[in-house]
Amino acid sequence: DSHIQYERVGADVTMKCGSMDWDAAVTWTANGTDIDESHLNGSYLILKNVDLTQSGQYSCYEGSSWHLKYQTYLRVGTPPKEPVLMCRSNNYPKGFYCSWHLPTPTYIPNSFNISVIHGTREMVCEKDAFPKNRCHIRYLQLFSTVKYKVTLTVTNALGKNSTTLTFDEVAIVKPDPPESVVAKPVPNNPRRLEVSWQNPSSWPDPESFPLKFFLRYRPLILDQWQHVELSDGTSHTITDAYAGKEYIIQVAAKDNDIGTWSDWSVAVHATPWTEEPKHLTTEAQVTETTSASTSSFMPPPTTKICDKGAVVGSGAVAVCWTAGLVLAAYGVLFI
């Protein structure tokens, strides 16, 4: 006959070949491979200090006939350590859920049992289909000062362990992060960013149980966050952004009156509006045009041009003479 045998890591295991006598001639196999006789004590199979790799199917055959006399599936594992249990209400006031896991694997099947007691009343925690290590409870009462006591017991073939959580109705309230966070530049405002978001969809009644929000933002190039707490509304305009710098922005939520802050939302990135830069070649053309116009409007030559050092070309000499004749004419008039 075949069955499952569970043993602890490090244990010494002795397997008997069914009802065969100790001195019967037998052959043992592990997963179809013959086991060396050094591991046998008569017809008993001795496995010392077993480890996880020795899990498998062990079979015992009668020596001459090779009739299968005994078969067992050896599962090497460990008893469970104290499980990790967490309870949270992300859908207040509807109810809460508890989830759990083992800090280290046992390598063998475990079963979990959870009990929830509120005062003298035992409540049923309905197991979720997925994930498997989770169950949920509907609140039967609200605003109770009586604590909830949740005990999780994990059992396997090698032992059991348990943990207990005790908490108030309000202490475990923690919403999911805000959803659909959007950040946009504000046209013609180089220091503003408009941020908007939505209540988490798991929060059933934000009108009666309003959330408040915490917004944090920083330019990518800096490590320091700026924070803003908002008691109502699902939008905010940042007015002190550094011009032209890309920002990272996140939002968290909390019930207005009770519980703790949610995790931060998915981060969004945005850069404030900046003015379009002018095209470079256009600027150069404007500069040349301006120079040419200026030279055509240059004032008529003055006496400075008559200075010896400043004279350039034969045209300047004629101009000097002209200026001289005009001055001489004026001088004659006033004698």
Partner: protein, 195 residues
């Protein structure tokens, strides 16, 4: 049309609800601070569990979301009238026990008592907007003289303050429900009609 349906009554209700929500928030914050002071001054363990004490209105309620506006107001009013008497008794006991030695605790108790009275008034005003009006206080007699030991009185006081803190949270929620346009007291079935 009932008086509670008129536009001015709706505005008055919304105003009273808004102010009441703010008052409930402030009251809760002050009660939580008072709880810390009370536990410390009375030498109690903050995590001590206190069984339900006779005469202290429990905030816990089943099917809270199914309550009518009038039910909410009536339950709140009954609770705060009871707390008014309980806090007055605590204040008296505290003065007898400690005299003027702990004036801070006495002042904090008195401040919360004032807020409780103000909140009860808010609730009475809201009920006056309903066809019923607030019930008289004939049934809300002060609690009998305490026969409890000093330690039992301290534990009872802890229970009173914890329950009051919970009521302050509940009251803000109740008023938000009442303030909803579609679920105001006037549109909910009256107490006589509710199942």
């Amino acid at each position: 049309m009932a008086a509670s349906d008129s536009p001015s009554a709706a505005l008055r209700r919304r105003d009273l609800c808004s102010r009441g929500i703010r008052l409930a928030g402030k009251m809760r914050s002050d009660v939580v601070d008072l709880l810390d002071t009370y536990v410390e001054r009375q030498g109690l363990d903050a995590s001590a569990s206190v069984v339900a004490v006779e005469g202290v209105p429990a905030a816990a309620v089943e099917r809270w979301d199914e309550q009518t506006g009038t039910q909410r107001l009536l339950e709140n009013l009954a609770a705060y009238r009871a707390f008014r008497a309980l806090l007055a008794q605590m204040l008296e006991e505290q003065r007898e026990q400690l005299g003027e030695a702990d004036a801070a605790l006495g002042r904090a108790l008195a401040a919360v008592l004032l807020q409780v009275s103000a909140f009860a008034y808010h609730l009475e005003e809201l009920l006056r907007l309903e066809s019923h009006g607030p019930p008289s206080e004939e049934g809300a007699s002060p609690p009998p003289p305490s026969h409890l030991s000093l330690f039992e009185k301290k534990l009872r006081g802890l229970g009173v303050l914890r329950e009051l803190a919970q009521w302050a949270v509940r009251s803000a929620r109740d008023l938000r429900q009442i303030a909803k346009p579609s679920l105001g007291s006037s549109s909910a079935p009256s107490l006589a009609e509710s199942p």
